[in-house]
């Protein structure tokens, strides 16, 4: 486990307490209690599949899974959203998976890549998609992108963030041709 994974796992653990499954339930039923909502292991798995699908890891560059984008999204929803938005998010999460079941016959986690693509294209079109599903998807996508574009690797290698620009401001220079 590299340092970043360690930090994000710590964030996940410190944000929520793992609730052990009660007798008789399968191990996968373990839930994570955030301060304001409960996420089952199944739901977390589904969100991980979703965030990985939104910003996938590719051969050249890290993706959502490397950045624990699911844990980041859940932490942001837990800490930075009003209770009514959290409620809609949680309901939308379940409605999202219900939509997968109704339209494609199984949980989002179990869909083929082609089915996932078809479903997300439909969600992005917003046509005949329940409002809470749009809220859930919008929040998840927003924070997945945020986890990606505010990551050290992205800001260092893609957006070239300079914390200390220096004293050499130029107010008017020709645009450099690529």
């Amino acid at each position: 486990m590299n340092r970043r994974d360690a930090i994000y796992n710590f964030v996940l653990l410190s944000a929520g307490a793992i609730i052990l499954p009660s007798c008789g339930q399968q191990e996968t039923a373990a839930s994570i209690a955030f301060r304001n909502f409960l996420i089952t292991a199944e739901e977390q798995k589904m969100m991980q599949q979703l965030t990985d699908f939104i910003v996938p890891k590719t051969s050249g560059f890290i993706g959502a899974s490397d950045l624990q984008a699911t844990a980041f999204t859940l932490m942001m929803v837990d800490d930075c959203y009003a209770p009514d938005k959290q409620k809609t998010f949680k309901e939308g999460l379940q409605a999202f998976d219900k939509l997968a079941n109704e339209k494609y016959g199984s949980s989002f986690s179990e869909l083929t890549d082609t089915q996932k693509k078809t479903m997300l294209t439909a969600v992005e079109s917003k046509k005949d998609i329940p409002e809470n599903v749009l809220t859930f998807y919008g929040i998840t996508k927003r924070h997945t992108i945020q986890a990606f574009t505010s990551s050290q690797k992205y800001m260092t290698e893609v957006s070239h963030y300079k914390m200390v620009p220096g004293s050499n401001f130029k107010g008017c220079i020709p645009v450099k041709q690529a």
Partner: protein, 566 residues
């Protein structure tokens, strides 16, 4: 009292923008000085916990968590109240006040006060400002003129380090400047258009408290060149901008004459009926709630505008039943502020072959052009305006998902058009109906009465907003800017963080509280040199004027003490 450990040569209440200056001046002159601060200590560098944090190191990516926003409805409105600097602002619940009318009171209780998070704009006043009340018939005449303050502006500018251009404008006098940053292409284009089109309007680079090129005095302070990080609100690891923590307070400390006492809220000033003057202050330790008295022959009140009003109102004695120095009943009245409601933004599709490189910590500025030399509008006074134009890079959009989205996010960022914005900074007219008082019953946890604030806009402010938005639209249109959008935030007074007055200066003890040296007319060894002393507000960001008034008054107090006249 001579050898009492609670006795000093001078007491300064408040360690922020102006209090730090009073402490520095007294300590340099050899006075044993007690500097009282109601909040915690904040040491330069050591107590800037977020200063070197990278964007991805903030748990919530600089967003303020919901519970904190919910618990702090007032303070969370401040633009600088973000995850990286929220530890420098008060919590609403810990420091209650009563809003008889909506007023967002933005406070930072710590050593250095709001000088840590200020916007660092430092424009001088001119006689067009000092003569305003007398010419236009509001408030009272200022007892001083530009010539009285000019040498003190120079004095504080040299020490604090102010960057700017010598623009030669009578309405915004030049000062002791370090080199300015450059205007951007489009700011310069705007400047050219404005100077060609209007003979009374000017666009300059805003003067600001940044060390663009440190002088030996700044190196001696341990400060270095501004690196244009634009993360000033966290405290600067280079000491690149002026705050009390990096500049005035350590300078006072190194004389060996300073006693800094954090966690010390002043309950009131002690008035001795026999001596006919103030002898000291009653301090409550904010942690232990223990009361202690401290004594000195001179007391400077720099508690931060409205809190200065509060302390004086709460300093009651047989001689002053309505507050210290308040013989005329005007203490707490004629409070004013700056009108920051209006702004405008637009795009510019020209000059697309040009851009900027690296950063700077300030932008362009338009000094007041309305009613400067004579009354010409249907409202009194006028407004200054910021103007900023820059290009921003965009990576691809956030449409879609998967590799398509990722490729879009990974694209080499493309330069967008020029974005231009401007913010109105309007003078407000001090009125007897804008005032603060003490609540008769409710007290804070230190037993100090809560301040009741009753301050509002008036018709003059509304007319000014309308005129600014019309004029800004006209100027933006003439400059070829497009997609022009005007905005009136309707924000409450207070959010401008420029509240002023209540203990105004004036010539006549019947109509003012302070004389031309910032001494209470009726209690000459008490000086008020923070924003509370302001007779009118003009349009300029006021901190530089507080600093100059403080240095001037402190040096005058030392002269009087030498002559045994305090």
């Amino acid at each position: 009292m001579g050898d009492n450990k609670n006795t000093f040569d001078a007491i300064v209440i408040g360690s922020g923008m102006s209090g730090g200056w009073a402490a520095k001046e007294f300590c340099e002159k050899g006075l044993k000085t007690l500097l009282l601060e109601r909040g915690r200590d904040v040491k330069h560098l050591k107590d800037y916990p977020t200063t070197n944090m990278l964007p991805w190191e903030f748990k919530h990516r600089n967003q303020v968590p919901y519970d904190i926003v919910k618990d702090n409805p007032v303070i969370s409105k401040c633009y600088a109240f973000k995850e990286d600097a929220m530890h420098f602002f008060v919590k609403d619940k810990e420091h209650p006040y009563i809003q008889e009318k909506p007023f967002d009171w933005i406070r930072g209780y710590q050593v250095g006060g709001k000088s840590i998070m200020w916007a660092r704009q430092t424009q001088r006043w001119s006689d067009f400002d000092f003569e305003g009340p007398a010419r236009d018939g509001f408030a009272v005449d200022w007892p001083i003129r530009y010539k009285d303050l000019a040498p003190w502006y120079s004095y504080v500018e040299k020490f604090a380090g102010i960057s700017g251009n010598k623009d030669g404008l009578a309405e915004l006098p030049d000062g002791e400047f370090l080199p300015p940053w450059e205007l951007t292409c489009v700011e310069d284009h705007f400047k050219q258009m404005v100077s060609k089109t209007y003979n009374d309007r000017h666009v300059i680079f805003a003067r600001c408290a940044h060390l663009t090129k440190p002088e030996p005095i700044h190196i001696e302070q341990g400060r270095g060149q501004c690196q244009a990080r634009n993360l000033c609100q966290r405290g600067c690891p280079f000491g690149g901008y002026f705050n009390a923590n990096s500049t005035t307070i350590p300078w006072a400390e190194r004389t060996g004459n300073l006693t800094l006492r954090p966690f010390s809220v002043v309950h009131s000033i002690i008035y001795d009926e026999v001596k006919g003057k103030a002898t000291g202050v009653r301090v409550i330790d904010t942690n232990t709630k223990q009361a202690t008295e401290y004594f000195a022959p001179v007391i400077f009140v720099n508690a931060g505008n409205l809190n200065t009003n509060l302390i004086l109102l709460n300093s009651v004695s047989k001689r002053f039943p309505n507050g210290l120095g308040n013989d005329n009943g005007l203490l707490g009245k004629y409070v004013a502020f700056h009108n920051y409601r209006a702004s405008i933004n637009a795009k510019y599709e020209g000059m697309l072959d040009s851009t900027t490189e690296n950063g700077r910590a300030s932008g362009a500025y338009m000094p007041r052009f309305r009613n400067v030399r004579k009354q010409e509008m249907d409202f009194l006074r006028g407004y200054a305006a910021t103007v900023n134009a820059g290009r921003y890079s965009h990576s691809g959009g956030s449409d879609g998902f998967g590799e398509e989205l990722k490729n879009s996010l990974m694209q080499k960022p493309e330069l967008g058009p020029w974005y231009v914005n401007s913010q109105c900074m309007g003078e407000t007219i001090p009125k007897v109906t804008n005032f603060v008082t003490l609540d008769g019953e409710k007290k804070d946890e230190w037993g100090i009465p809560l301040l009741k604030i009753s301050i509002d806009y008036d018709d003059n402010d509304e007319k000014m907003i309308k005129d600014y938005l019309e004029q800004a639209t006209e100027m933006f249109t003439k400059a070829g800017f497009t997609d022009i959008q005007t905005n009136d935030s309707k924000q409450a007074p207070g959010l401008d963080i420029h509240e002023m007055g209540g203990v105004r200066m004036g010539k006549d003890p019947a109509t003012s509280l302070l004389n031309e040296w910032n001494q209470l007319h009726a209690c000459k060894n008490v000086f008020v040199t923070d924003g509370a002393c302001m007779t009118s507000t003009s349009t300029q960001n006021p901190s530089l004027t507080y600093m100059a008034l403080t240095a001037r008054a402190a040096n005058h107090a030392v002269e009087l003490m030498k002559k045994n006249e305090l």
